[in-house]
Amino acid sequence: MSEKKRIELEYSQLDSERMRINVGPQHPSTHGVLRLEVEVDGEIVTEVVPHMGYLHRSFEKYCEQLTYLQVIPYIDRMDYIAAINNEWTYVLGMEKLLGIKVPEKVEYMRVIMAELNRIANHQIAVATFGLDAGAFTPFLFFFRDRELIIWILEKLSGARLLYNYLRVGGLAADVYPGFKEDCLNVVKQVRKTNAEIMDLLINNKIFIQRSANVGILPADVAINYGCSGPVLRGSGVKYDLRKDEPYSIYDRFDFDIPVGKGEVGVIGDCWNRNIVRVYEMEESCRIIEQAVAQMPMEGDVKAMVPKKIKPPVGEVYFRAENPKGDLGFYIVSNGTDKPERIKARGTSFVNLSVLPEISQGYMFADLILILGSIDIVLGEVDR
């Protein structure tokens, strides 16, 4: 309501040179249905007001009437690009509430799938970022490689994008023989394509001109707004939940946290956020290799799955490192088999809030790039 008042006030004092343009709700990129109300002075953006809610599906209200098991497909559909990470955060929260310790095999499987999803997510992020800048080919290269990951997950869970695969205490189905070879195949292909994309897109002079020094997000502003993930790490803050609050078995693996160092441009600009994602793909490859080497193939993945999930009265807040940032679930249980309340702290929702701050003063074409570099998915923003 106060936002409306502010806009009305603005209109009355509107400079006649400034134009209010509507961008969206449909975008040519895969960001989804987001409406941006942009005020431009010629080519320079002076104000951006994001209007969201076009994809609101009342998940959290629905979840109050479903059992803890039935909630999982809904959790998938929040960040539909990297669904495993969503499920994992929820399932980890439930396991903390119930006090379940899952078998080793399940842990390794979950880590491998989560890292595969991380690679898949970053592939889309970098691909659509290039598409926003006008480069059509990297998009197809990345989607070709993403197919390999999706085939693995399809063999495991039966679905390409929205898996419904993790269960409280285990997994829905066992691993198939040949899983380890497939994963190593993916790692090889991802490394090859990344090397190609560094030449084709990342170090291309035109791309650097478009994305460096654009959308600079200072580290303190990022922390104040609550940004997380590559948006925060692109600004130079070395914070990753996998290292700072390790969950599951991440403390067994040896990997780095890439941070925007300003190799090109300024720390905190679009180029650095992008390069953090590219480097994170490489780190995920390392984790997958180590996990595949250590994973036991024997064991029942459903051994610790409870027959009926009826947690004690209580509440838990669990957060994990989504590819896009810090995803949190606040689960309140009232003793029955249906949750009292599930609240999701959406990563993209919080990351999107920084858009008006960092796009003022840049040109209109840069606004599209900045939005692409924050990497939102509207399913998570709107839920």
């Binding site: 480069a135 080919t137 070709r144 840069d366």
Partner: protein
């Protein structure tokens, strides 16, 4: 000047031969546009590791015909508040501007529609008619996004005309003639005689070879900007507001804009070929040289340049408007001036 047109010799200079001379390049341009559309679809697909259209005809070769038929059978809409005359005329003006340049381009040593002594001057003059068509289209659509796209497009075209003209002028200085047929004839012999490598001459021309190579590249880059191709396709940039000046066009008018863009691509490719790459001359000297071979070589080289344009489109990202203008005015223009002066100096001292 000798009459270098075989149709005149064959049929005499009457209405029939003049009509034939006008329509033969038109037929060529239309057929070429179909092939270029297919080439764009297939080459872009192969670069992106896809196959492209495969179902229309064997290996998709009938796809351009399918596209043309699709465009022709669409409803012909005119927006309500649009300026009817300008709106309907704009695509044809743009196509005329592109096609009229064919009047002076020699297809072979015995076929040039109009062998005039100021051929290159004419080409640059008539090329601006194309940008007139763009402004008409953007303005008459009564759509502020079309107008913005049209304005940007025109600013881009006229900015890049200057480095292009300087590049061509340097070769005019080298060749001492603006007559395209003469420039073409001067490059006969093997490929070392092409103006890309300094033109006909012996030891002395090593001084100008770096400059002519740079000028060829400058002309090629400017030609990408002239035809609104990536990396200069801001006017049509999809991730910007909408589709630029041809947003409100559909059906046959859009087909006309489409054809005009491909015709324009070939015009700039043809000029690049004629001036820098030897036109209808064979690169092997006397082997495969002749009036009919000339047509083959000309079309072959022109099409190679078009293929490079398509290749670049699917490889590079696009420039922002201000970076585009910066490149044209502050980088290409000074370099082309320096090359022009260097070549003039060389010709003076020769």
């Amino acid at each position: 000047m000798e009459n270098t047109n075989f149709l005149y010799e064959l049929l005499g200079k009457n209405a029939l031969s003049i009509t034939l001379i006008v329509t033969l390049p038109l037929v060529f341009v239309l057929i070429y546009a179909l092939i270029a559309i297919l080439a764009e679809l297939k080459v872009s697909a192969w670069i992106q590791e896809r196959l492209g259209p495969m179902r229309t005809g064997p290996w998709g070769i009938l796809q351009p015909i399918a596209e043309v038929v699709k465009l022709l059978q669409k409803e012909d809409i005119t927006p309500d508040k649009a300026n009817k005359l300008l709106y309907n005329l704009a695509p044809f003006v743009m196509f005329t501007g592109a096609y009229a340049a064919f009047a002076v381009i020699p297809f072979s040593e015995r076929f040039v529609p109009a062998d005039i002594n100021v051929g290159l001057f004419y080409v640059f003059a008539i090329g601006s008619v194309g940008s007139l068509g763009i402004v008409m289209g953007g303005w008459a659509s009564n759509n502020k996004y079309s107008l913005m796209g049209a304005m940007r497009s025109v600013a881009q075209i006229i900015s890049y005309e200057i480095p292009a003209a300087m590049a061509i002028l340097s070769i005019v200085v080298l060749a001492s003639s603006m007559n395209l047929q003469e420039i073409n004839s001067a490059q006969s012999g093997w490929f070392w005689n092409w103006y890309l490598f300094g033109g006909p001459g012996t030891i002395g021309k090593w001084w100008v070879i770096p400059f002519t190579v740079i000028l060829a590249m400058i002309y090629f880059i400017s030609s990408l900007a002239e035809t609104n191709r990536v990396p200069f396709d801001i006017p049509e940039g999809e991730s910007e507001l909408v589709a630029g000046f041809h947003t409100e066009y559909g059906g046959i008018k859009f087909a006309m804009f489409f054809f005009a863009e491909y015709a324009n691509m070939f015009v700039v490719a043809a000029i690049l070929t004629t001036i820098f790459l030897g036109g209808w001359n064979s690169p092997f000297g006397d082997l495969m040289q002749g009036p009919i071979w000339g047509v083959f070589w000309f079309i072959f080289k022109g099409f190679l340049v078009v293929l490079v344009q398509i290749w670049i489109r699917w490889t590079l990202p696009r420039f922002r408007v201000d970076q585009l203008m910066y490149l044209g005015w502050k980088i290409l223009l000074p370099i082309s001036f320096v090359c022009f002066m260097a070549i003039s100096l060389y010709v003076m001292l020769k």
